[in-house]
Amino acid sequence: MLFPDLSAPQITTNKDNRATIPVAFVADRFIALILDFLIFSPIVSLLMAGLIRQAKTFFLINTHSEEGLVAAALIFLVGTITVVLLQSVFMYYWQATPGQFFLQMRVISYPNYRERLSISQCMVRSFAWCGSFLLLGLPFLEVLSHPLRRTFHERASDTMVITLKKVPDDGPEPLEQRFIASWLRMSFLFFALFVFVGVAKTYHSLSVGEYRESGTATVAMCKEIKDSELQGASRLDAALSLFLLNEITPECLHKEAELSLWGDPVNSQSMAYFAKYLLTEDEEHQKYLAKVCEDATSSACALAQYLEDSDSKRLAQADASLWVTQVLRVEEKYSRRDVAGSLELIEKLQHVNVLRSAMDKKYVRSIWALNERSQKKGGRQPASADSKPWLEDFKEKYGVQ
């Protein structure tokens, strides 16, 4: 008994088939594809117009809209189903899509010839045709390498495209077949690699929380201000203080000022104008100063005028309970070399969560200045710092010798 060698290459009868089957031209099939697109796309678009409009509206309102994503998924699904049905109907009744019809091509059952295609053949063929797009259309390129120009969706459905023209296509040359087939294999490998990298990257993003909902209420708020519980006037107060301490960017303060100016509560309007005053220059700067000082007795006006002429009397007129006033006082005292005075204020502000980190820096700066001055005076603490042993406290707190 002779066993067949299963490892040997499959013996095909390509040459014979080519001689008997009128294989359709690649160019004709390409033009048919374009015609099908021109004919089917308006019909599919019309069927989905309402859905597309809704999806566009969802994404217009919110670029990360979940409703929009669902609508987009529905568009994809309905589009695929419509295309599969349209193609199947044409294939079943006319043995060709409209484009193939105009270019004198027909789809036949192959290798088992039948009078006409069955419904399941039409459906499988259309479905696999749509599926090929998921692989970036690479399976379609088999039309260039297969001896009978049969691509994946045709082999999956046991079908084949033939031409009614007098002279059929000769099919690819053997060298052409081998070259394109190897190139296709390489392309699939690269595609698989890209898919793998993509999946890994998406999984990583998912695990580090990049897709996590950020909450809609904070859309207009600045994320640089970490304390999310701060609201209204105190939030703007914190933003102003942090801006003056160089802890947040001008864009951040601008966001907070806009939120106060355009939001409903109007109790922080003058402070919001003060923020705008800090952020603008030249003519606009003066306009905002005038706006801040429409009420000359307001704290915002006192602060703005203090920044204009550095007169400490102005600062004394501002509401002392405001953090921004206290921050400016810290700086004012420090510049007057009243380090102990500034340290007292810093110690108070260190209890405010949102300002703690910035105040810690100011604390170290003041202690440094105090230490330098004490060294200049031969290790004695300056008279201004007599009220509290700041240096000892610092050494004790941080374990410095």
Partner: protein, 315 residues
């Protein structure tokens, strides 16, 4: 590439009106529109922050409207939140298309950043003046500018070279077909009245819109619909080209009856798929208006041709 290519295109002297219409469109574009600088580009209202501010003020304007007036605005406008700066930018884009808002914009009182609002009022006034002085606005058709002349001038005006060339390609192909079939008089009537019908369709779809419409596409749609209905059994020759290799270029003949429904369906689908109140850059409603007139004109022509041939047979 698949492009319509009628067989009688070479005999251009047989189609004097088609050639005249094409040349007229080119001359008007070259003499008036070509090289005209778009003066609006530098206006602060059209920059991102300007749009956001316009959106915020428009939001307040909407609060001052009666429920009836409010209902005339698209549904999505009511779902926007003033706290979302991006949404306010989108609303700003819509606000600049709302003619009734632009009329009262600078006279309204608003809450918010008074310095910004004062500057915006100056900018919006400049915007309105510049907008009205634009060539496209003066020659185009819109809810704000619908004088008797603009109904005709818009049919011969184009915004860019690409706009002109794409329209010309279809005008020449379809114009030649209609002129060969029905003569110059019918071509002129279908072109002009089809343009008027397109203008009507555009204005009906726009409501409060301020954006002007220009272009011969409504007239061309009318010509296309006219020809497809008048010559249902004809086939138009198309040339296709993939590469210069033999077998990869040539002609195919497609039935006219297939073209019109697809053309109508494309316009209808695109019109329905565009969120209300936001234009897509193409006046689909104008195409549909022109097509409806062309369709009726084609039916009338068929009826007339049939009765003429019956009269001839009887005599």
């Amino acid at each position: 590439m698949i492009v319509p290519c009628p067989e009688n295109l070479k005999e251009y002297q047989r189609f004097p009106l088609t050639v005249t219409l094409a040349l007229l469109n080119v001359f008007i574009f070259v003499l008036i529109f070509n090289g005209a600088s778009p003066s609006l580009d530098n206006n602060k209202v059209l920059q991102y922050e300007g749009m956001q501010l316009t959106g915020r003020l428009y939001y307040q304007y909407l609060q001052s409207l009666s429920p009836q007036e409010l209902q005339e605005r698209p549904e999505w406008v009511h779902r926007l939140r003033s706290a979302d700066a991006d949404q306010m930018g989108v609303l700003g884009g819509y606000a600049l298309r709302d003619a009734s808002f632009l009329e009262v914009a600078s006279a309204q009182t608003y809450k918010g950043d008074a310095v910004q609002i004062d500057a915006w009022k100056e900018n919006i006034e400049t915007f309105r003046k510049e907008y009205r002085s634009q060539l496209l606005f003066r020659f185009g058709l819109s809810s704000l500018e619908k004088g008797p002349l603009s109904w005709v001038t818009y049919q011969f005006s184009h915004s860019t070279w690409m706009h002109l060339l794409s329209n010309l390609m279809f005008l020449v192909v379809i114009g030649v077909a209609v002129e060969a079939l029905a003569g110059s008089g019918v071509l002129l009537i279908v072109y002009l009245v089809g343009g008027l019908a397109g203008g009507l369709g555009f204005l009906l779809s726009q409501g409060h819109g301020t954006v002007p419409m220009v272009g011969a596409s409504a007239s061309i749609s009318a010509l296309l619909a006219f020809y497809c209905v008048a010559q249902t059994k004809a086939r138009i020759r198309y040339v296709y080209f993939i590469s210069p290799i033999e077998g990869q270029y040539g002609f195919i003949f497609l039935p006219t009856l297939m073209i019109l429904p697809l053309f109508l369906v494309v316009d209808l689908a695109n019109l329905w798929a565009t969120p209300e109140g936001l234009g897509s850059g193409v006046a689909y409603a104008a195409h549909l208006g022109g097509s409806v007139f062309g369709l009726l004109g084609g039916l009338a022509y068929r009826y007339g041709a049939r009765s003429r041939s019956r009269t001839l047979t009887e005599t």
